[in-house]
Amino acid sequence: MVEVDSSEILARFIFSIRMYRADNSIRHTAFIPNPKNSETSVFRISDISDDEIWEIGDSVGVIREKPILGRADITAAVVMSKDLKIIPEEPPERHANIIGWSNDLSKQKMIALELASEAQLHLK
C-alpha cells in the first residue's frame, strides 16, 4: 500500500450529531481514538469525487448500522504535525488509521481539539 503523503486529504466519517456543533464546527470528540484500539479510522479521499466519497461513507454506515451524517476533512500534514502517524490499512479500500496517540487522556484531548480546529465539516 502506498504511504500517506502529507498533502493528502483524509475524511473522518461522522455518524452522531454529537460530533459537531450547531455552527457546523467539529468537536474534538470526532477525532478521539477508538477506546478499544487507540486508533482513529479515516479514509484517503484526495483524488476522488464527492459522490465517490459519500459512497464510501454509505458503505461504512451499512457496516456500522448507522446512517452517515457527514464527514470531517483534514489534511494529512496537520495530523502528522501532531506527532501522529497515518497507516494505510485496507480493506476497505482507501482506509487508514491515525495511530500514535498519547496514553495521557488530557494530551489526547488537546491534540484532538487541535485537529478539530483545522478540520472542515461536510454534511451529507
Partner: protein, 165 residues
C-alpha cells in the same frame, strides 16, 4: 449555642458550603436554599436546568455501546452523576456561561465552553473524582488532570477565566 462558618474559598452559591452545626445553622441553610430557589427562576439560573436536561439527553442517547458508529463505550452512570455535580458547582452568578454537553467515545461526559476554534476549553468526567481537561487559547494551549472533590478545582476555574475574562 450554634455556630455558622461559611467557607470563603467556595466559588459558587448553589451549594450551602458550611461547617456550622445546630438548629440555627439548619434554619439558616433552609433560608439560604429558599433564596437560591428564587434566584433559579431568573434567566441565568433557568439555563442551569436546560443544561441538566441536555446532560440527561446525552446520557440517555449514548447509553449503548457503539453510539458513535464506531466502538464507543456507553456513557456511564458515574460520569452522568459527576457531570451533574460539576454543573451544579458552577458559579450561578457569573459571566461564565453554562457548558455544552457532549459524549466522549471513552464513556465520559464532556463539558465544553466554545468561543471559536482556537478559544475552547473542554473537561470530561467519568465518575472517578477526576477532571480531565484541555484547552486552546489562541496560540496557547493547556491540558491536565485534577482531583474533583467538593468544589471545582481552581485550575479549571482559572482556565475558564482565560476564556471569559
Amino acid at each position: 449555642m450554634s455556630t455558622l462558618i461559611l467557607c470563603k474559598e467556595c466559588p459558587n452559591i448553589s451549594d450551602f458550603q458550611s461547617i456550622g452545626f445546630g438548629y440555627d445553622s439548619l434554619e439558616l441553610e433552609s433560608y439560604y436554599y429558599n433564596i437560591v430557589s428564587e434566584l433559579r427562576k431568573a434567566e441565568t439560573l433557568g439555563r442551569l436546568d436546560e443544561t441538566l436536561q441536555s446532560l440527561y439527553e446525552v446520557f440517555s442517547e449514548c447509553s449503548e455501546e457503539g453510539w458513535d458508529g464506531y466502538d464507543a463505550y456507553p456513557i456511564t452512570e458515574g460520569a452522568y452523576f459527576e457531570a451533574r455535580k460539576f454543573i451544579k458547582s458552577l458559579p450561578l452568578i457569573s459571566i461564565i456561561p453554562m457548558p455544552k454537553i457532549a459524549p466522549e467515545p471513552s464513556g465520559e461526559i464532556c463539558l465544553e465552553w466554545f468561543k471559536g476554534n482556537h478559544q475552547v476549553l473542554v473537561i470530561s468526567v467519568r465518575g472517578k473524582n477526576e477532571i480531565i481537561y484541555a484547552g486552546l487559547f489562541g496560540i496557547n494551549k493547556t491540558h491536565g488532570t485534577e482531583y474533583f472533590g467538593d468544589s471545582i478545582p481552581s485550575t479549571v476555574m482559572e482556565n475558564l477565566k482565560r476564556l471569559y475574562y
